[in-house]
Symmetry: C2
Subunit: 725 residues, 2 copies
Amino acid sequence: MDIVLAAILCGLAAVLYGIVTSRSVLGASAGSERMVEIAGAIQEGAKAYLGRQYTTIAIVGVVVAVLVFIFLGLIPAVGFVVGAVLSGVTGFIGMNISVRANVRTAQAANSSLQEGLSLAFKSGAVTGLLVAGLALLAIAGLFYTLVNVSGLAPNDRTVIDGLVALAFGASLISIFARLGGGIFTKAADVGADLVGKVEAGIPEDDPRNPAVIADNVGDNVGDCAGMAADLFETYVVTVGATMVLTALLLGVGLTGGALYALMALPLIIGGVCILTSIVGTFFVRLGKSQNIMGALYKGFIVTAVLSIPALYFATSWALGGEMSAPIGAAQQALEPALGTSAADLEQNFLAATPFTGMDLFWCMLVGLVVTGLIVWITEYYTSTEFRPVKSIAAASVTGHGTNVIQGLAISLEATALPTLVICAGIIVSYMLAGLIGIAFAATAMLALAGMIVALDAYGPVTDNAGGIAEMAELDESVRTKTDALDAVGNTTKAVTKGYAIGSAGLAALVLFGAYTEDLKFFTDQLGLEGPVNFSLSNPYVIVGLLLGALLPYVFGAFGMTAVGRAGGEVVKEVREQFRNDPGIMAGTSRPNYGRTVDLVTKAAIKEMILPSLLPVLAPIVVYFVISWIAGPQEGFAALGALLLGVIVSGLFVALSMTSGGGAWDNAKKYIEDGNHGGKGSEAHKAAVTGDTVGDPYKDTAGPAVNPMIKITNIVAILLLAALAH
Amino acid sequence: MDIVLAAILCGLAAVLYGIVTSRSVLGASAGSERMVEIAGAIQEGAKAYLGRQYTTIAIVGVVVAVLVFIFLGLIPAVGFVVGAVLSGVTGFIGMNISVRANVRTAQAANSSLQEGLSLAFKSGAVTGLLVAGLALLAIAGLFYTLVNVSGLAPNDRTVIDGLVALAFGASLISIFARLGGGIFTKAADVGADLVGKVEAGIPEDDPRNPAVIADNVGDNVGDCAGMAADLFETYVVTVGATMVLTALLLGVGLTGGALYALMALPLIIGGVCILTSIVGTFFVRLGKSQNIMGALYKGFIVTAVLSIPALYFATSWALGGEMSAPIGAAQQALEPALGTSAADLEQNFLAATPFTGMDLFWCMLVGLVVTGLIVWITEYYTSTEFRPVKSIAAASVTGHGTNVIQGLAISLEATALPTLVICAGIIVSYMLAGLIGIAFAATAMLALAGMIVALDAYGPVTDNAGGIAEMAELDESVRTKTDALDAVGNTTKAVTKGYAIGSAGLAALVLFGAYTEDLKFFTDQLGLEGPVNFSLSNPYVIVGLLLGALLPYVFGAFGMTAVGRAGGEVVKEVREQFRNDPGIMAGTSRPNYGRTVDLVTKAAIKEMILPSLLPVLAPIVVYFVISWIAGPQEGFAALGALLLGVIVSGLFVALSMTSGGGAWDNAKKYIEDGNHGGKGSEAHKAAVTGDTVGDPYKDTAGPAVNPMIKITNIVAILLLAALAH
């Protein structure tokens, strides 16, 4: 059977799983009339937001699609549209399940913790497997259509441009979804917390708070729809970049069949891991200890362990059983043809020594190990059981200031171990199989996306379930159960973000490799005099690194300001509602939830545009400005350095923000569990401040850095192609 | 007259100015007995701290000096000791003036704002000119002794090693002083604020607060002694690196006399700017508008403008009047001899086209312009008059959380313009005269250090004066005047830090250039197979960049944690004093100030050791680990990339922390001026939290990144020399 077709079947299996499981979720009881009513308000708000967001994105999307068509042709334009539309579809379906699973989870938690967990996790698994499945279908479908149906060579420029454009489509939607959703969710959350918990002294999710529905809508549009689009993008870009790099590096040296097999390998890797992820979902069950994190880990570990043999057999099958025959040998014939001197060649890591299928398999294991370590490290930094979170909680005793200082310290510190793990992953996979090895390690990381997203998407469902339980005045015991589920959700959400940005670290190297290879390929068309000088001794490289490193900072500033500003507006709106109608606080009249949702929707859409365009425009501006000053040779050098500058700085900004934010959140939960005086104590007030600060860190600015890094890289590659055309 | 001797005379002029001016400061009235008593307590605390700190540093210093002697020989060991001792002396004298000027400033402010400003500024000018003067004397003296007295060639290895070791000595002390002082000052400040302003509701500097003396001591050991050591280091490293780079790049090509002149040029640049700085100090006078910042700017602008002709004549004189003859032509003969191919040469920015004296002069102007722009940008971000500070103040109205979020957003944003200025500075000076041009731009920036430090060191004096006025219960009008002086101090302190880190951005490139040139020089001794591959396509370069970028984060985490921890201890100590003796709050019994000073001293010394050693050990560990994995060729590549990674990431960490911290501080002051409800309002409480968070940002972690960057680079250069020996 054809490898790509097999991968497509695996993708369809994921979709099938999604359909069956979502039916099972929707078949559960939605509880009392009051619960249905509340859930209805959340559904309505979410739908309204997503509708308006997608309309805005569609306008940008159509403009960009036309530009892609003009500069690159029809196939890339189609690829762009497919990537963009499927990314949107993933977020849309995931969110629709999520806003229906929330109320059912609250109802199920009424029976038992296990049932609540099951329902919430199933809903997450639908989103997770749709992300992986649709992403795989998009790439495999495009590749199959162009190569097997249209008969193009696997390394034909049209195929390469199509794959890159597909990734661009996914990335562009993703950054809007991540940022828009992130601003919405945190503006609502920050606003609701400040005016409710801090000022009015009413609990979280109190129905008297006019921002409470907006807050619950936010969980879905940010943590579910935004996150789904983000991981869809990460998947498409990583797998796509691995295929493109394979085509560029080995395209001349390998025969058609061997190249096809190697380019199809990332697809089948994704395919078999969808199957292991589906198996893993059935292992998420509470043990005797009732440990929720343990239950989720069981699913993850089963998937990871099963993936090891699955990856071996997939690789062996794709390579025709030849696990120990050298693959990359022929590439050395390629390099001199592109005008590189023999001395350069020796130093050029793209022309690594030949590697075998076995080497690639080891690289995939590196990817799995990196994933496991990042999960473990993130848990250490964000779980209530370890030093970091406890230290923030302890610092809360001495006030707001020390809480924030300690949280910032932890956020800085949390970058260290992941960076060391990523560096080790780079070195080991590079030693095994050169840049191709790094690409396959990253692909194996992303292959687990189905399971990882399932763990994450379960978070907003439980968060909402808690809110609904509170508002529908369900028994206190239900809230206790949903709170327990939610605390774990904070950690799993941080884990996904750490995983996404960690994989971005590897993927960005692959993208940079694709950029440099493309530069070589286009040397003549671009009118270059010779190889571009990417040495650190070139001051334009330094300038590129500095400008690239600046992007995540400016981007972060935009995101934080947006949340601060929109959150402040929510506070004013809620204060006004309280002032105009004293009946709200007395509980005799209903606040106007819709007006608050509407306000946040408008604010989020308005605020997301400018920062989203930053990574799209920056590479273009830097290239043209430096070219104008010092010629295209240095323009391309600065642009290449910009790509690495973004990742070098973005990795740290994103890791520190997502881990720090998760730690702040759980430090508050730790205090609420009765430590340091518990709820209502001065320490708790300080912890609420820390949590508020962490909100835009972990849910707006931090996670959006991941698509930002990728989009910068992809735009640079497209710019090359457009200039060469 | 010999150029170096002339520079030495200028250095002596600075010392003379220091002696005369400090006499004039000390001659002023110290006020009432109560004031003398309070000032005495501050002096005593500062002396005790500095004594203990220097003892600790001395132990580390002796060990390192022995290591330098063993691995590099006698002259470098002497250079190291000179650098270390003079750095310590600068801090010691500066602080001694500062703790005596504080009480006299309070007394002078009793008469008029002008007299207060005059006294405080004079005290700052003593420190400023001693920093520049002693730094210049150290380098010029060492160079003169080795070249003119001992008769070594200016580019003799002994001279180069001596200069690098001198810089190392200054850097090592500086990082301890910056970090130890920074932890002391902010632990005391944060602790005093939290327990005094926030908990007990007593004003800042209330004598009932047992941490109040420690807070005032902290201003001196941190903002004065620490800052003086920092700028001393920056000066020595920048000027020294420019000389070393000149020797390495042009040493073979130029004749002895021409090389001597070019190496002496940075010294005379420093010399003439000391003279213009002295002139500038006499222009710091209030105009009719009573604008304090305007008065300080007058001095700065006079210095900067006078420096333009001074630099021209100094350059012309050093180069024998040959401003338009090409200087660097001969270097092209040098490069091929070191085994570089002609193609590489063409791309190698070290082998720039020949430059003239006029080109160098333009580069110096670039340095002055960069300085001016950074001053202006920093003022924009930290002064109460512009959008950033006002936006933080406005965000305080909605609570602690939104204040901190907005402050973080501003701190991220504040990196953008300085980065663009630095990039422009790099490009323009590189186009004028290659790497040498960047070096001279950096030298010209640092040449203004005398004036810049004067502006900065005035800050702690006024801060203390306010505290003394409060404690000695002087008339309210005195406090108003010292507060006005102090608010400007917050901006000038931020300006100095922005300037220091901005110059570090340029200096680090110079140091990286020295590292790569040294690598070429030592190719045979180090057993290298050829040029090291610093291309971004080399994964070990990526790993080096990532590890380098990690250092400022880990370092920042250490610094923040240290302040949080030590500050928390202060809170506990003060609470205990309040609890054990209710008479303290009633005002009937005196708190035990000494015990708090003692506690902070011990904490600061303990906390400074580990993070200070991080940048010393990191380059060594990275080199040996990567060499062990992939051979010395890649080890040197990763080490080189580490150096650039530190600056690429450190620049942003430092800029964001110092600007953000300054903005938070002044947002509080802005509210205290009566905006958003003024003192005591909810907005004010939120602003106090922001100020507390900003404290370790701007005074501990942020500024210490500057010496950290330099020390990493210098250790790498010394490691090369040690390995080659």
